[in-house]
Symmetry: C2
Subunit: 263 residues, 2 copies
Amino acid sequence: MKSGRRNALKLFAAAAGAATLTPFLARNVLATRETEKSPAVPWPYKKLDLERVAERAYGGYYQGACCYGAFEGIVGQLREDVGYPYTLMPSEIMVFGEGGVAGISSLCGALIGASSAIFLAAGGLEGKKRGEAFGLIRELFTWYEQEALPNYRPKNPKFEIKTSVANSPLCHASVTRWCKATGFKSFSRERAERCGWLAAAVAKHAAELLNSRLDGAFKPAHVLSSEVQTCRSCHDKGGTLENSRGLMDCGGCHFSSAKVKHP
Amino acid sequence: MKSGRRNALKLFAAAAGAATLTPFLARNVLATRETEKSPAVPWPYKKLDLERVAERAYGGYYQGACCYGAFEGIVGQLREDVGYPYTLMPSEIMVFGEGGVAGISSLCGALIGASSAIFLAAGGLEGKKRGEAFGLIRELFTWYEQEALPNYRPKNPKFEIKTSVANSPLCHASVTRWCKATGFKSFSRERAERCGWLAAAVAKHAAELLNSRLDGAFKPAHVLSSEVQTCRSCHDKGGTLENSRGLMDCGGCHFSSAKVKHP
């Protein structure tokens, strides 16, 4: 009897120890939730399947537009493949970039979404990491300006879409060049579909750049034209004027014949 | 003795229950971390102190440049004042927008950072929320194009900075107009300081818009010029051509005399 009681008390003491641990743990669950800091950028990256990225971006486009689509194409896939910390990132923040930011048609939203995803997975506040991610983003922009896009066809498209060359990373310039090349209106369903394909193409290429970086094989494949270098030789860093900056295709907006001819 | 033992066993059973709860909770702490989804956008907003936002943005500029500075000005303040879920958001993601995205000088990074912060605190995937946040962002852009900026002077500036009117939300256009107005070079330390003041001014105005929305008092104070409306009447939705889109100041890039005169 006595030893039975002693054993019972021993067990009780052990269990009671655990019981005091319970509110401690409960407090810490809350404490973690309240005080947890998200891990520093860059977040862990796993090589992505390019077609899955593209299809997810295309689907995302019809939920939250171009910027959300391109971002979710990459980050949504990493949420599935890597999990935490991508589970902390609400892709809805990127809806802001729709139609060149809130429909203002400034910078292409797909480029904003893909660039921020690149930075999340490959960048950082520290100079070297920042510069590496900037290298990928610059290549993405120059590719966007120079290639005939969209160059990805979704599995179940609403329409067939022809390509055009944007000569600019800006939303309205990219849209206008496509409208002129195809005859479709800028608010047509075909143009919307074109931007869905484009969000897919941009996300896919951004993932391709991230994959090549992971392999240590990234090299910029697109260079600024000699015309842009001529502009920069006067206007950019170290030039006689040094009164501007940038790595955009200047000719996309400046000195195009249309502007000079317009009434 | 019998009743003592019974009581001990009762206590033991209660404690044992708690003990089985412990590994359950421990499992869930891990499960929460691995599977927690960040709360849906918009995240809770508390009225912000505008000067604190501006000072934090100015300080942030010298850590992670314009886009990070403007974003961290608002989101960093909300991380302090609201806490979770802003603790989940790594502001470093926004470094991508530096110098009009990776130095490409497309869209002003301060506008990117402030717009995404606005969307995080006031937007959402759903149409009505999306539209409301877009209204704030559009007002921020038109304000940026039309006002003499930067209109915030940090408490401890490195230089005194004069203002200019950008006529454009684009980084290189905004920089060039400031360089021409002040005579400073685009890669000077004064120009960098100007962009620090600008990140502060943009974050402050974005917080002002968020505050007025919280009071139910938001009204757009800036409208597109009649010249822009003339352009849009042909080129935008419903126009004869309908081959473009946008709410930017067209004259910021198109038909400026400098472009026609250039060799």
